[in-house]
Symmetry: C2
Subunit: 248 residues, 2 copies
DNA sequence: CGTAGTCTTGAACTCACTCAACGATAGTGG
DNA sequence: CCACTATCGTTGAGTGAGTTCAAGACTACG
């Protein structure tokens, strides 16, 4: 078979659940489009009706919510290889925004198309479900992080998670250099701190020798000390989650 | 057909997705047990392997996570009619605790049994998925609440949500009297405030005439003012989510 | 009726915020 | 190529929302 740009999408799902040839075939037959989006542009806005599902191929995206006073909370980040809105595949109305942080490229399929594949192929639906549940687990850890850790640990935790998730995607097991495409204000929106305080905590972590910083990247120098300062335990990422075998 | 204690479970799922007679029959054939649990007892603990799924019939339960220093963050509450761990149906390892707050009764089915029904009945899986996604939406709102609202609004938001969810379950559209089975310390763990501050904010809301308090219950006297103080917009609860029709 | 848990209140403290100014950097247009 | 502008990062000083500590009051329950 020729190369099909939907392959990464299929592989993403196949990493969660073993897919049958029929499953794979149905997925690869979906109409799709490859799209590029500029930083800041919205994939979907709160209260809108979701119309598309997609897989992030390159770049970084974020989910966010706003208070009525305009304060923003980033509720999730997405790296290449992450699905962008399987969360909302069956919801009538989006409950949060999804927005490009950097320039991103994504493969997009129509919501209805993916729904009908999922209807006929339970393995696909199961893969989507598992993906959703793991994202929910990450959101819960963020809630714990924001609610119950002090600024320094909170920021450190954010950096540890980003480093680990990045390492997985790039198949480099011990990557500690993070290309961080977030401004300090955006980091603050993720960990619920002001940009000023983010700046101070970053400098503190640097002064303690846990990280070093250059223009747009951070290197975690002392991983153990950093993970300890962050109270970081990656089990919530469910990295060891076993692939579901086909039952029938 | 005789009355089957699994009925509420089926109805719960059927409220999300239209089920076929075959779906219903398969669900009703599952082995189940009815269980009662005392306040504080664990339904599941973090890092454990989930073995059962259940529906909460009576009482209130909570999900929580702990930092290594022992600080607790409650990441979700469950009222009668809520499912207790469909979240973890496909996860190898629990990422949070689920614990009874009051004495609770629940209908429990074996994880494997529900999985095999879901495998063969896509509508069931879809219903579970929708349930999971709505819970995730609530968790995101909590993250916004804890991260970006001040104590008074944060607490008010918590109370508004509890009142609305309670009202739905009891089919009383405008219920504002809340039987709150949480200590102020537990409320604090939900909204990430100290019990002392929870106490002060409750008294402040009372002094402003937004709520009145008696022993174990709170009445929201001025709903509009309260919702406004809370920055509460219930759209994240997805109450108007339409039931999914069978596609055939 | 005593004990344990919860609620309440006060006082001191502190982590993080606000406000404000300045510096660095990158992109833009003339 | 340089000046202009906007955005981002950095730093200081003052402030405040929420915490900590501590003690007393209330309530439920054996």
């Amino acid at each position: 078979m020729d190369y099909n740009p939907l392959r990464p999408f299929v592989e993403k799902l196949a990493s969660r659940v073993e897919l049958t040839p029929a499953d794979t075939e149905a997925l690869l037959k979906m109409r799709f489009s490859t799209r590029e989006m500029r930083p800041g542009s919205y994939f979907i806005r709160e209260r809108q009706r979701p119309t598309a599902s997609s897989l992030l191929i390159a770049g970084v995206a974020m989910r966010s919510k706003l208070t009525s006073e305009g304060a923003r909370q980033i509720v999730g980040l997405h790296l290449p290889g992450d699905s962008l809105d399987l969360q909302q595949l069956y919801l009538d109305e989006a409950d949060h925004n999804i927005q490009a942080l950097t320039t991103i490229t994504l493969i997009e399929v129509a919501r209805g198309d993916l729904q009908s594949v999922a209807d006929k192929h339970p393995n696909v639906l199961k893969a989507i479900t598992i993906d959703n549940v793991i994202e929910a687990s990450i959101e819960r850890e963020w809630l714990l992080n924001v609610g119950r850790r002090i600024g320094r640990a909170r920021l450190a935790h954010f950096l540890c998670e980003f480093a680990v998730r990045l390492a997985i995607k790039s198949h480099v097991p011990d990557q500690t250099a993070i290309a961080l495409p977030l401004t300090q204000e955006q980091i603050g929106d993720a960990v619920a701190l002001t940009p000023v305080h983010v700046n101070r905590m970053l400098k503190e972590l640097e002064a303690e020798g846990l990280i070093t910083r250059t223009k747009n990247s951070i290197v975690i120098v002392e991983w153990k000390a950093m993970a300890s300062a962050a109270d970081f335990n990656p089990s919530y990422l469910h990295l060891n989650q076993k692939k579901q075998r086909v039952t029938a």
